[in-house]
């Protein structure tokens, strides 16, 4: 682990990625300490200001400090990303393994469901869900979980299938090893690497999705600060002042850069195919 970290820091892009991710995570966690203002406190007299020493990224239409909102928005983004990807991973791994190791008919059914979910345009699924339960952080998370499960499930299934046909697994099954043991001991460790890489590259996608949903007015509840809702407000204000949309875009771009570079250098390091050049 430490070895991998050390190797990442030797790659300029990996280093940038790591620094960005650490920076964003820390600033989100410490938002309460760093943020110069209360992110939900209104100061209507100070509304729609450009960047200044007092307000690094300016203020929004309610006079709230955008820099503080961006910092706190990081908490929402990370929460959405971690919870939804964690849950999607968990369910995806479970279903993927069942599909890979279970009987053929079960595999077919699960894959059919995965394909069905994927065939729905995400936005439509989100719209229907939001209409059903109303916009909130939990809704966003639920939508993301459901729509990303197939991604992980498929990877796990493929890995499981290939491991299943391995000689040593066959031998172990013949010796009566339980399914749970085989999955836990042989399959899980094999899929965890690729999944982690996939997940780290999915984090920005998920965060962007939250922003998109907020843009359609289907994101988090006010006054919770989220990058999507900052962008959303910014869009309607854009002919008045560009600052809110810029403030909303910056963290989104940074976190995507961070996780993508980190994910890619992880992959370059872990994937043996790429590694042999080193």
């Amino acid at each position: 682990m430490i070895d991998i970290l050390r190797r990442i820091t030797r790659e300029p892009l990996g280093m940038i990625g790591l620094v960005l991710v650490v920076l964003i995570v820390i600033s989100a966690l410490l938002a309460g300490v760093i943020a110069p203002y209360d992110p939900i406190e209104l100061r209507i007299v100070d509304r729609l200001q450009g960047p200044s020493a007092a307000h690094l990224l300016g203020t929004d239409q309610l006079g709230r400090d955008l820099f503080s909102r961006v910092l706190y928005g990081g908490q929402v983004a990370l929460k959405v990303a971690l919870i939804s990807i964690g849950a999607a991973l968990g369910v995806g791994v479970l279903f993927g393994m069942i599909a890979g190791f279970g009987p053929r008919w079960l595999d077919n059914i699960i894959m059919l469901f995965f394909d069905t979910i994927r065939s729905f345009p995400t936005v439509m699924f989100a719209l229907a869900t939001v209409a059903l339960v109303g916009p909130s952080l939990e809704t966003v998370i639920a939508v993301i979980v459901v729509t990303t499960i197939p991604n992980y499930g498929r990877v796990v299934r493929t890995q499981t299938l290939s491991i299943r046909s391995n000689e040593f697994i066959k031998a172990e099954r013949a010796m009566g090893a339980s399914m749970v043991r085989i999955l836990g001991v042989h399959v899980l460790p094999n899929v965890i690497g690729p999944l982690m890489i996939l997940a780290s590259m999915d984090i920005p996608t998920v965060i962007a999705l939250e922003a998109g949903l907020s843009f359609l007015g289907m994101g988090v509840k006010p006054p919770t600060p989220s990058w999507g809702s900052i962008l959303n407000d910014g869009y309607t204000l854009i002919r008045n002042t560009p600052w809110p949309i810029i403030a909303g875009s910056i963290p989104l771009v940074l976190i995507t850069l961070g996780f993508t570079f980190l994910g890619e250098s992880l992959r370059d390091l872990i994937d043996p195919k790429l590694r042999k050049n080193i």
């Binding site: 939900i40 406190e41 209104l42 209507i44 509304r47 239409q61 309610l62 006079g63 719209l127 939001v130 209409a131 109303g134 916009p135 909130s136 843009f215 359609l216 007015g217 289907m218 509840k221 006010p222 006054p223 959303n232 407000d233 869009y235 309607t236 204000l237 854009i238 002919r239 008045n240």
Partner: protein, 528 residues
């Protein structure tokens, strides 16, 4: 942007009543179109924006202001709204029009008004058919209430007739004759079509004819060479449905259109540096935005709590934050310029936290927690957050629930389950036509659980509402409507916010024509 779209459809249906759209910004407003004159291929073309796509060419099935903007170009009415800053009307197909008594209006058509496509001359029979079909159950017109107590139209001659009401119906002059249900269609053509039409029309008699509809792209109107009123100003009018106000403004700036409503947030900058060769103008609007409180809900049934909340809501802050200072505070549900408008509200626009705390104490509470349901449009969300912040100062915690439009508009619907009981505070916005009866109709006892989501009920209010609609004494009506708003406010179930505003921008190559509420009268647009 978000706002735009989702509402659009909804808006249309009710053009009159509520508009939900985003509230402030704009989409809501049913603006229509914007023009620009293009002399392409030697043709003079007016290009305007509508906030939504056309739905029907049949006035009976008209679903809102966008449809009416088209209908008023291709059909004639006895009278039309007069462009300008004050509400008024002018003759169109009628040569004369006269209120005989409280329940009879006598009209005489101009001669030689020809329907297009060879359908012949317009007669009093056509007027009778057009008006009475609105009442016909089989036509299923949702615009039926606009005709109030219309009984029948009696034909007195080829060109003459009498409109007969069961009881006095003064709103006819404001919202029936010059508006949607006042459009005159050709009896013969409509009967041939089976009594109603959809998206093509057999004939019209207005300055323009309907040439083509490209769904979600544009509607094209072309000059009617045989128009009785002279020669229409443009060879063609192109109406583009554009939901998003940012996009509409960009379309204007890039020269794609000649006129549009613009968003309130852009107005300040536009006025400071308007695009070359264009004019920005402010018009008031008739929309009314208010916070309603459900008097039947366990929490908000406490009148003192409701009054505390009334005093907690700081309208000037909302006007700043959500409406960019471009709209004024509302004193009730009836906008300035209309009969029944109140000069001031009983609870001043500015919040009074001390008073709120007194009411809270009177309610026997030192703090409270309520929910506020809002439609997920930018302005509404901003408003909700201002309310949240000021209420917190008085110890009232407001939990904001966002809803997308489909869910929002069924919130208080008692036929859609039990959800209506959970409504506590609701930020609402209705549109209306220029007669006060249009506004008060929703707050009577019968409307509880339909559109009266506050469940406000007062026998005296109901009585006044019925009487005011049928009273032809304008001064008396004025007082009655003022009184009704007083009653609403006193109940504590309403906090009036604003009537919004309609800022428009147009190219100086055209001379636009607007109703006093800033909605375009396309048939009156001309080249500068």
């Amino acid at each position: 942007m978000q706002t735009k779209q989702r509402n659009k459809l909804i808006l249309n249906p009710d053009r009159r009543q509520f508009l939900q759209t985003s509230g402030a910004l704009g989409f809501a407003a049913a603006t229509g179109a914007l023009p620009q004159i293009v002399y392409a291929q030697g043709k003079k073309i007016l290009k305007v924006r509508a906030y939504a796509d056309m739905r029907s060419l049949d006035p009976a099935l008209s679903q809102g202001i966008t449809d009416e903007e088209i209908h008023s170009c291709i059909y004639s009415k006895l009278i039309q709204y007069k462009p300008g800053r004050e509400w008024g009307w002018q003759l169109d197909a009628a040569e004369s029009l006269e209120q005989l008594d409280d329940t009879h209006i006598k009209f005489k058509l101009k001669q030689d008004i020809m329907f297009t496509n060879g359908y012949g001359e317009m007669t009093a029979e056509d007027v009778k058919y057009s008006f009475e079909r609105i009442l016909d159950e089989k036509v299923e017109s949702t615009n039926k209430p606009d005709w109030g107590s219309l009984k029948e139209v009696v034909v007195d001659g080829k060109y003459e007739g009498t409109i007969v009401f069961d009881e006095p119906y003064p709103p006819a002059w404001n919202i029936a004759l010059p508006y949607i249900v006042g459009n005159i269609v050709c009896k013969k053509a409509w009967e041939e079509a089976g009594g109603r039409i959809d998206t093509t029309t057999p004939c019209g008699s207005g300055p323009y004819v309907h040439k083509e509809w490209q769904p979600k792209q544009k509607t094209i109107l072309a000059r009617n060479p045989d128009w009785h009123g002279g020669t229409a100003a443009f060879d063609e009018i192109h109406i583009f449905p554009i939901d998003d106000e940012n996009t509409a403004q960009i379309a204007f700036e890039s020269g794609d259109i000649d006129y549009t409503r613009v968003s309130l947030s852009a107005v300040v900058n536009l006025k400071a540096s308007p695009p070359e060769n264009s004019t920005v103008e402010d018009y008031p609007s008739l929309y009314y935005v208010w916070v309603g409180m459900n008097v039947e809900n366990e929490v908000t049934s406490n009148q003192n709590l409701r009054k505390a909340i009334q005093h907690c809501i700081d309208v000037p802050s909302i006007l700043q934050a959500s409406y960019f200072g471009a709209a004024g505070a509302a004193t009730g549900i009836i906008a300035p310029g209309l009969i029944g408008h109140r000069e001031k509200s009983m609870v001043p626009p500015t919040a009074d936290i001390t008073k709120a705390k007194e009411y809270l104490a009177a309610a026997g509470m030192d703090s409270a927690s309520v929910t506020l349901d809002v439609l997920n449009k930018a302005a509404n969300v901003t408003t909700a957050q201002v309310i949240q912040a000021t209420c917190a100062q008085a110890g009232i915690n407001v939990d904001v629930n966002l809803h997308e439009s489909g869910a929002f508009w069924s919130l208080g619907d008692k036929s859609a389950g039990e959800r209506y009981k959970d409504v506590q505070l609701i930020l609402n916005r209705f549109s209306m036509a220029p007669d006060p009866s249009y506004a008060t109709a929703w707050f009577v006892t019968d409307q509880r659980g339909v559109w009266n989501w506050e469940w406000y009920s007062d026998a005296e209010f109901d009585k006044l509402e019925a009487a005011a609609k049928a009273n032809s004494d304008q001064a008396a009506r004025h007082q009655m409507y003022q009184k009704m708003q007083d009653m609403m406010e006193e109940s504590g179930a309403y906090r009036f916010i604003t009537h919004e505003a309609t800022p428009v921008i147009y190219r100086n190559t055209i001379k636009p024509a607007f109703r006093p509420d800033g909605l375009p009268l396309l048939r009156n647009f001309s080249a500068a």
